[in-house]
Amino acid sequence: MLRNSLIFLALLGVAHAETPAPATEGQVERTPLGDFALTDLEGRSVKLSDYRGQVVVVNFWATWCEPCKQELPFLDAYYRELAAQGLAVLAISTDGPRTVAQVRQTVKQRGWTFPVLLDQDGAVMGDFNPRGAAPYTLFVDRLGRLAGDHDGYAPGDELGMRARIQALLDEGKQPEAKEERTSLRVTNSLTAERRTVDAGTYGLLTDRLNLQASAGDLTTFGRIDSMIFADAPDGRYQDDARLERLRVRYRLGNWNLVAGDFFEQLGRGIMLSIRKVDELGVDLEIRGGRLEYDGPAVGATVFAGRMNPANLDIVSEQFVEDTDDVLAGGRLVLRALPGMEVGALGLHMRPVTQSLPPDQAEALGIRQDDQSSAGGLYVEVPDIAGLFSLYAEGDFQRRIVAADDSDGKALYGTLALHLEHVNVLVEAIHLDEYIVTGSPNTALQQAFSYNQVPTIERLDQIVDNVTDFSGGRLYVEPTLLGGDLVLHANGMIRINDPGEDGSIRQIHGYGGIKYLYEAGRSRVELSGGHRSERHVDGGETFRRVSHAELDWLQALGSSSWALHVQSRNDLRAQITPSGTLDEFVWSSTLLSVDWASRGSLAFEFGVDTQQADEQNYFFAGILDLHLDGALRALDWADLEPMAMRITAGSQRGGIKCIAGICRDFPEFSGVRLSLVSRHTLGG
């Protein structure tokens, strides 16, 4: 893959990378939010409608999201203080297969008391937070109506949130208010950019219109994607407009029926993980039907449909053909023993595009019928004596590719120990040719991957083998000063292609310290580590990196202003054809001034010395402006929620990884303008 080099706006901190669209905040015309059901950390089913009559704060967060973890202590404090007045907080973890193992220990370590719900496949996020922002908070009044939302977190935001919660609580139960049954929410994201890539300079206008409607127990979601190019360099960049997503969901008691596009995950994502990671251009859904029953002792899900990838690859900005691969599968969950869940998983898949062109296969005498079938079992014990939690999964797969049969096997287990001042997590995985791929992604010229494997590696590291490897990791996290001081140490070892020629051993040790101060409004985090990759035969170093990171957020007094510095610095080395190690520096630093709920102004500086005779320094400026918040603060206007982001400068291409998924980003030089607006209608 292309150089391991700079990617501006990314890798400095995943949280920044995870919120590429400008944030919005606002109070909206109140309309019913609709309902959802998720399981909590103890495996119990929790519905939003269970809290009717209370003010509910629904917060989307993830363990890798630092602003989320800075915001949640405030919500926990408000919850403790105001629960008696009728406040409920539902913290929805959007962690995917890669990081979900850390959710429980994060919650335990921080001592959060509100219910934490797991949305591993992103289904609830898809319905209620379709842009995938983190953190993202919804405020629901006592009648189950959406009373407002808050996007992102900067020091000072908590004050506005506290005031909003109190106002909702003060409204009382409003028994005389008429309960509305229908609503329509519209979110539009418009991006215009002019950029230069290897293929030439072009302009692009993209628009994503999200429509969410609810009527009683019925909720619908639609998304219209449009893209228009100016001076497109070649046929890979195509104008297009289409109804990209359409979903109807109907809930009745413990039953949940979905028709249209939906996310799906089986187990910890090894067998199947169809979800969305916008920043990496991963935007897959199944178009078909899904029926779920979630009872106290038994749960079951069956689904079938065709794969429906988004047709604009937002990384390369190239057109992606639909695959229409056929999938059918399901799960059966038994909760016969208290505190334990046992499940069986199954999946059958048939790619529409076969391994070889039909006429070529015929000429070679190959009768193609590519397909794969898989079955698996898992057991989860969320809480053993208040100290341990356990998850174990085993999967078996039979594949037929070009009339050739082969098998795949997967084993995965995680054991977590939760003590008062220390958390310990052990993860182990063994994959033997476990491959879940479909028809080609025409933008990448390689098969779509329909699973996401717990890679056991740090989120931002290059992981280039997710089908045939063994490894494990140990994570230790002591806490001091009542949770304000957190230390962590990690050790990871992976063997890629164990037992084969060219097998590579990867070792990564890293650790750090994080300190929250000024009542949690400021934080500083230092971390660093060393990763090396060696050939098992001969022991020759193949690639290595020593890295150091700083993340410092300093609230400025009691105002709503803050300074933010994020820096990542790598000393990298990789082998050359001569057998020597080529060392180079990769560094990126972002300095920003944040204005709570109104925006930020950031400047980014990067260094990459891999190419001796090329440009080694890069700059970018990023202006985020929450138009509604800023104009309201200046008493100029009271707009519907609207936000704007302007990015200008040059960004070097390179591999960027989030949650174990890596993409190779093209170079960028130009200007990008994004506008997000939201409107709500009730009836």
Binding site: S406, E500, D501, G502, T576, Q611, E614
Partner: protein, 190 residues
């Protein structure tokens, strides 16, 4: 026998070339068409691969037409590499193992290098170093003009291409090295 097959195959290849030219050049009869570039062969799966020319480690030219003329070659696997591409370096031992397994059955493998570790165009010396360093028992060539760059997106290097040598039609183009799928196709085809 060998010469006979060789001759027929040469004729077949020539006919395919002519057919390809005819298809591309049909509009040329109207006159005034752009002939600044020689009409190309197909660059997608199912199309005929052009008889590209590269440079061997000793500096002599290597043409895919030469490979085509050897009747024992049934499937060609063409893989692109570059000195800066660690994924390419990582896959070399796997390619050796694959070659050992399928060479006797008619697999012809070739690595085409297009840049060195400083992103400069490849040359015969680089091909020579690469071949010796990874002890590659198959062809390693320099693609200094990066002709294969028009078959895929360079940023997604390496590319793996499988070609039916009997017809010179491209069976598969994929980025990365999906070893399991390649092995399955070779098992079925050879």
């Amino acid at each position: 026998m060998s010469m006979k097959r060789n001759g027929w195959q040469s004729l077949a290849f020539l006919a395919l070339v002519l057919l390809g030219c005819e298809g591309e050049g049909a509009q040329g009869l109207t006159g005034g068409s752009d002939r600044s570039q020689y009409p190309g062969f197909g660059k997608e799966e199912g199309a005929i691969l052009a008889p590209l020319q590269f440079e061997l480690p000793d500096g002599t030219p290597f043409s895919l037409a030469d490979m085509y003329h050897d009747p024992k070659n049934r499937i060609m696997m063409l893989s692109t590499s570059a000195g800066w591409c660690t994924a390419c370096i990582e896959e070399q031992p796997k390619l050796v193992a694959l070659h050992e397994e399928f060479a006797e059955r008619g697999l012809f493998m070739v690595i085409a290098l297009f840049e060195d570790d400083q992103f400069q165009p490849a040359n015969a010396a680089l091909a020579n170093r690469w071949k010796r360093r990874y002890a590659l028992p198959f062809a390693v060539v320099a693609d200094a003009d990066f002709q294969l760059g028009s078959y895929y997106n360079r940023e997604l290097t390496p590319m793996t291409m499988l070609v039916n040598v009997d017809t010179m039609q491209i069976l598969k183009i994929t980025t990365g090295f999906p070893e399991s799928e390649v092995r399955a196709i070779l098992n079925a085809a050879l």
